[in-house]
């Protein structure tokens, strides 16, 4: 993986983490795309009592 690809991957994960954090702050389940980017199974996350 090139340095540029690594950087893009990191910023993509960072964006997903920011959106997911904002969602859970509002007691909402994060977007499926963001969870997928972070490697979090949506089904498992949905079971958490937010």
């Amino acid at each position: 993986m090139t340095a540029l690809q690594s950087l893009r991957s990191f910023f993509g994960a960072f964006r997903a983490a920011v959106h997911a954090a904002a969602a859970v702050d509002m007691h909402r389940t994060p977007d499926a795309r963001d969870l997928k980017k972070l490697g979090i199974p949506k089904a498992a996350f949905s079971q958490i009592h937010l």
Binding site: A17, A21, A22, P41
Partner: protein
């Protein structure tokens, strides 16, 4: 004197029996509020502000910091045993931790969370101690325009850059800034937005607003939720200690979580949650057992728990060195400092080094206390989880009301508590973030003061704000932080629309 010498002096100060007692109260309270879902360190510190007004400033601030650290420790207990995060920063812990508990491995899950929290807290607090003097030296060159630019950056990141909706975030922020204008103007002595009410001449009390938003608003929101469920506590079976394999799989995630969480906590609006999500993603990518993730992988508990504790220490870096709060809890701690007539920042390190270094050193002691509180006394915290939710929220509302009336016995204050509580409920209902309104209320007057100082130096010339390279850079970063997420969101929507159009074809 170097940072090490200051830290040793601080340890000597923090070893005072009375200060140790305050630290113990803080970490115990913090663990309790971390364990209990629905209340967090921000609300607890806000409720205690009026109570601690007449107490020793050093002890009170040590107690608040202990509450903050303790909250991060305690949140993992509820996440692991109840699948309900005690703190929003412990959500990821619930993902893997509860799965481990259901498989009879609740003990190792709790152990890796507690030990990881201790190691991350220790490393991060030492980093705070060694970085603080350097940042303070840099901050000494800051004048009014640099401070104003820094606050603008904090406003933008808290409200617009790191949120779901820039519009909602900015709306919350400007609401907070408008509320900050209520009261007597510090420079001219004129009343602003007081509508002839004598009680409003002193402005909106930060504690009233914080308690209303975090306690009343949250209680109303939880009560209004349709899917109420009865939480079942998963019993901790077997040993509470970790096996050799657990240690081998945990130590690297602890260190990586610390490295991830600390800088993110120090960023404006970084928050602990972002670090925990990133830590989980990192551990899953690097794990030798990625198939276990989602089924109870210990790395998924170790890394995120370390990240959230490291971010708590990271939050204290800008708070203590620059006087800049980067989270709602830090904003309320800033109000705590101001209550005692203290302004965190480089001058506090110069004028009151005993207090500052005593506070930093006490965090090391508090961290050790938390390890003892959280592992051997786990049974005590589990009993707290059996408190029925209706009783819990009724108790929160009672303490919130009593605390507000105790600090300001006035019907107007009580009316504001209820009014802002309803506002907090409506904001949660429609997805408006709470943190920007609190940060706007606390930082707004400071930003106004710095701006007016800068303009009086320049005799009204606004371009003076851009003549400093530091101020211009900070304002440039703030502009980018506002514009870039908007562009990325617009691109994201464009890609989704294009995909939809393609699907239709």
């Amino acid at each position: 004197m170097g940072a090490f010498d200051f830290l040793m002096q601080g340890l000597a100060t923090a070893a005072d029996p009375m200060l140790l007692f305050y630290a113990l109260i803080g970490v115990t309270l913090g663990t309790a509020v971390g364990v209990l879902p629905g209340i967090g360190p921000a609300l607890t510190v806000a409720l205690l502000l009026p109570v601690t007004y007449r107490l020793d400033p050093a002890g009170s601030l040590i107690m608040f910091a202990g509450i903050y650290y303790g909250g991060m420790y305690g949140g993992s207990t509820t996440s692991i045993l109840l699948n309900t995060p005690g703190e929003s920063a412990s959500i990821i812990t619930a993902l893997e931790g509860n799965k481990m508990a259901r498989k009879g491995r609740g003990g190792p899950a709790l152990a890796t969370a507690a030990i990881g929290s201790f190691i991350a807290g220790l490393i991060a607090t030492l980093l705070l101690a060694f970085l603080a003097p350097t940042i303070v030296k840099l901050a000494l060159v800051f004048g009014p325009r640099e401070y104003f630019a820094l606050m603008v950056l904090a406003f933008v990141t808290v409200s617009a850059a790191f949120g779901d909706s820039a519009l909602r975030g900015l709306t919350s922020l400007f609401l907070g800034l408008a509320l900050a204008c209520v009261g007597i103007d510090q420079l001219t002595g004129q009343a602003r937005l007081s509508f002839g009410q004598a009680e409003l001449l002193d402005g909106i009390e930060v504690t009233t607003m914080a308690v209303a938003m975090f306690a009343v608003g949250e209680a109303l929101f939880i009560a209004g939720q349709r899917d109420q469920h009865d939480d079942e506590v998963t019993a901790v079976k077997g040993s509470v200690w970790m096996s050799r394999s657990d240690w081998a799989r945990s130590w690297k995630p602890w260190l990586r979580g610390t490295v991830i969480g600390f800088p993110i906590g120090a960023m404006p609006a970084g928050g602990a949650e972002i670090g925990t999500f990133l830590s989980y993603a990192t551990e899953k990518k690097l794990s030798k057992h990625p198939e276990e993730f989602g089924q109870g992988a210990i790395e998924g508990v170790a890394g995120p728990e370390a990240a959230n504790n490291a971010s708590a220490a990271g939050t204290l870096v800008p708070l203590l060195t620059l006087g800049l709060p980067t989270s709602a809890t830090a904003a309320i701690m800033l109000a705590g400092f101001q209550q005692f007539g203290l302004q965190p920042g480089p001058l506090l390190f110069a004028t009151n080094p005993t207090l500052v270094w005593g506070l930093i050193a006490s965090l090391l002691i508090a961290n050790a206390m938390l390890l003892v509180l959280n592992l051997p006394l786990i049974g005590l915290w589990v009993k707290l989880l059996t408190v029925p939710k209706p009783w819990l929220y009724a108790g929160i509302l009672l303490f919130a009301t009593l605390g507000t009336i105790g600090a300001n016995p006035s019907s107007v204050e009580l009316g504001m508590l209820l009014g802002f509580g309803v506002l907090g409920y409506v904001m949660r209902l429609y997805g408006y973030p709470i943190a920007p309104i609190v940060v706007g209320l606390i930082l707004g007057p400071m930003a106004e003061q710095q701006l007016r100082r800068a303009l009086s130096i320049s005799q009204g010339d606004w371009s003076y704000l851009l003549h400093s390279p530091i101020a211009a850079t900070l304002l440039g970063i703030a502009a980018l932080a506002l514009i870039v997420p908007l562009i990325l969101r617009a691109r994201g929507k464009g890609q989704v629309l294009a995909q939809l159009a393609g699907d239709e074809d």
